[in-house]
Symmetry: C2
Subunit: 434 residues, 2 copies
């Protein structure tokens, strides 16, 4: 059988993982498809010095992506360079010459996925992007096909492996955020500039893509309230455990009668929930549908080979499509009725909250804080204080009954001038609906 020809652009982690699988696993891939996938071109700025797996002797090697996109024998282009500049040019140029694209680019698809899909539909090409979110977990396939008949109401994700690794280490070893981060950087699990991970921006891009797919709405990162994990300390896990909860960087997209509540923020999860059992650098997604109830998906969030599986599986799907003829397409980012799932301001979030204070000890503190909460009609649930050595920096916790984020922010505003506070209070939602 004639092969379907692939051009790989980008030979970093993901590109080299995909190439390994395409060459090593070629016979099983061909057996599943009924025809081979053939790597006809590889492109990288460093292609001359790149160490390529055996079997690519005949492939075009180039540093110019246009040679790949314009090559008459190449049927599918894999854009694996990342970023939002050249990567976008590659996808648009591929669409312009009628070639489908497989991409691992979360940043680009989160920011411009809807526009790129509009172009793809006009050009009758596919943009397959399984690898852009949660590398080893086939969550795109699940949302696009596996449970496409359902009407999704809620999606929770743990989508940043670095944050989950850091939080798990803080939890298990009682080590400080800064200490664990430095270790993770030394071991190569975290970048030298850790902001994209620990401030939640990476997870935000992934949630933008997944919530767009789940709800068919044009959701972009700026629609998502985002807060990182820098303020989470070992004492927060001690208090969370007293409440039989743990803390994770939770990506949440929830349908409400008024629209969608979207957030990436550290949150308390009941320890009995399956999402709370996700430890270390793993990723997970938890989906609730109106009909199918709860499903849960778990696996490696990154790594050359798990992400390579996503790329290769997408290549196989697109190759099958090329053989069967181009189907009619609907944008996965924009099939909802306009505004059906409008993103809402986070002020409308409604949940229980965990409030952690650090104070200089003196009489009347609880009374002052309770008065601020009471003024916003917020009901106290629990007050927790573990014995502490330092009366000048006492951490303690108040949990409150379900209320709105707006009320919490207003209460925090009332507390802003209280001179016994060592730092502004930390407010984390407690997820009860899992």
């Amino acid at each position: 059988m004639q092969p379907v020809n692939i051009g790989i652009i980008g030979l970093g982690n993901v590109g080299s993982g995909a190439l390994t699988i395409l060459t090593e696993n070629a016979s099983q891939i061909a057996a599943k498809l009924g025809f081979p996938l053939h790597v006809a071109a590889v492109c990288s700025r460093h292609v001359a010095s790149a160490k390529l797996p055996a079997g690519l002797e005949g492939a075009l090697k180039t540093a110019d992506w246009r040679e790949v996109v314009n090559h008459p024998d190449i049927h599918i282009v894999a854009e694996l360079i990342g970023g939002t500049g050249v990567a976008r040019e590659i996808i648009e140029a591929s669409a312009a010459c009628g070639k489908s694209v497989v991409t691992a680019n979360k940043e680009l698809m989160a920011l411009h996925g809807a526009e790129l899909w509009d172009q793809a539909i006009a050009a009758r090409i596919n943009i397959a992007m399984e690898a852009s979110v949660a590398g080893g977990i086939p969550i795109h396939t699940v949302l696009r096909e596996g449970i496409s008949g359902d009407r999704i109401t809620t999606l929770y994700g743990i989508l940043n492996g670095t944050c989950n690794f850091i939080l798990t280490e803080i939890e298990q070893r009682g080590a400080d955020f800064g200490h664990v981060l430095a270790e993770a950087q030394a071991a190569g699990y975290a970048e030298a500039d850790p902001s994209a991970d620990v401030d939640g921006f990476d997870a935000r891009s992934k949630l933008a893509i997944l919530s767009a797919l789940a709800f068919g709405e044009r959701i972009v990162p700026s629609d998502i309230y985002t807060e990182g994990i820098r303020r989470i300390s070992p004492i927060d896990f001690e208090y969370a455990h007293m409440l039989d909860h743990t803390i994770r960087l939770v990506c949440a997209a929830r349908q409400t009668p008024k629209g969608l509540l979207l957030s990436v923020r550290p949150s308390l999860l009941p320890r009995s929930t399956i999402l709370a059992s996700v430890r270390g650098a793993y990723n997970a997604a938890w989906v609730r549908g109106k009909y199918g109830a709860d499903t849960f998906y778990y696996g490696r969030g990154a790594g050359p080979l798990p992400t390579g599986v996503a790329v290769v599986s997408d290549l196989m799907r697109v190759a099958r499509e090329i053989r069967s003829g181009s189907p009619e397409r609907v944008s996965p980012f924009a099939h909802a009725r306009l505004g059906e799932y409008k993103p809402l301001p986070i002020a409308l979030n409604h949940s229980a909250y965990y409030l952690r204070f650090r104070v200089k000890d003196r009489p009347g503190i609880i009374a002052s804080l309770a008065a601020a909460l009471s003024a916003e009609k917020i009901s106290l649930d629990a007050v927790l204080q573990l014995p502490q050595p330092n009366a000048d920096d006492l951490p303690f916790v108040i949990t409150v009954a379900p209320t709105t984020e707006q009320s919490i922010q207003d209460a925090l505003q009332r507390m802003a001038g209280m001179d016994f506070l060592v730092e502004p209070p930390l407010a984390l939602p407690m997820e009860g609906s899992l």
Copy 2:
């Protein structure tokens, strides 16, 4: 846009669940597809008295499935009656007139999936069968597309919700198997004749399908060593917990250098594993691939609406195909090189084992049992005995280091004549590779 027309045969649990979703969620389904799915016919022996959802006023209602299959306007036939007789006729008749089929029929697909797929490929039709295994979990889609680029080495499943419910109740409440089964029957969670569930046959059919899909091999239920849960008692959970394990009915398909080891049997799982966290009537699958490492999938195993989501999602996929033109197909049941994944006898299984004895107390028991194990070169690991009130029926446990099933069976044979045994020993594998 012109609709794709569906004929639903069977209005039991699954059929009525699918109909509810097809009618209630019609607008979102049409938005995702770009065209509507239209229920053009429903068929049931009791169609005259069936309570149908609104929106089916114009549909053909018939008690004769041939009217549906032969109806010129119907594009896809949903076979939702179950069983291996008429259901097979429906699928073969549909193939004969070039119509793709969606089925929820685990028994038929487990027994005859490979032959039916050979017919389907010759007829250029699709047989979509997501609903046949683990209702709400889109595990077929995951294996067929989401991680199709990977080379799967191991698949573990918890695939029978009734057994998992019963085991969880025994574990949590310390109630006997018979007592919990009677409760489950009264509540409608278990059938009046519970054998298909509690003796492992239902799970075996599901594992036959999943392992065929995962390995591309013609696997049938009789290839799978099967043992039910009737002998599991509260004391087994007490001992398992002492070993930091739990007990589940584990469906396992593992590649070894010689072939595939396939089994459905109660097994000890380390409590720290995510598979051990599956409680109650839920189902789960845990997959290990050579490249993508471990992924895990969890959800409702049954129920009209979760299974209905699987049926409707399959209908959507097949409808998209009908619009884009019939693709080339490869049998999902038989794409491996012949014999690449040959099923092996269970005697070759290699693992640690949990051996639970019930004995009349007297001196020398441990010595006799240890001698029988030693004669088969099996090394003892732990000997556990909780205090017990009844010296005439003392349960105690020996765990042994990894050995073969053959050696365990030979040792049990040596023990057969020992007159202090109240019943034959119970031998359960301890899964360590999760």
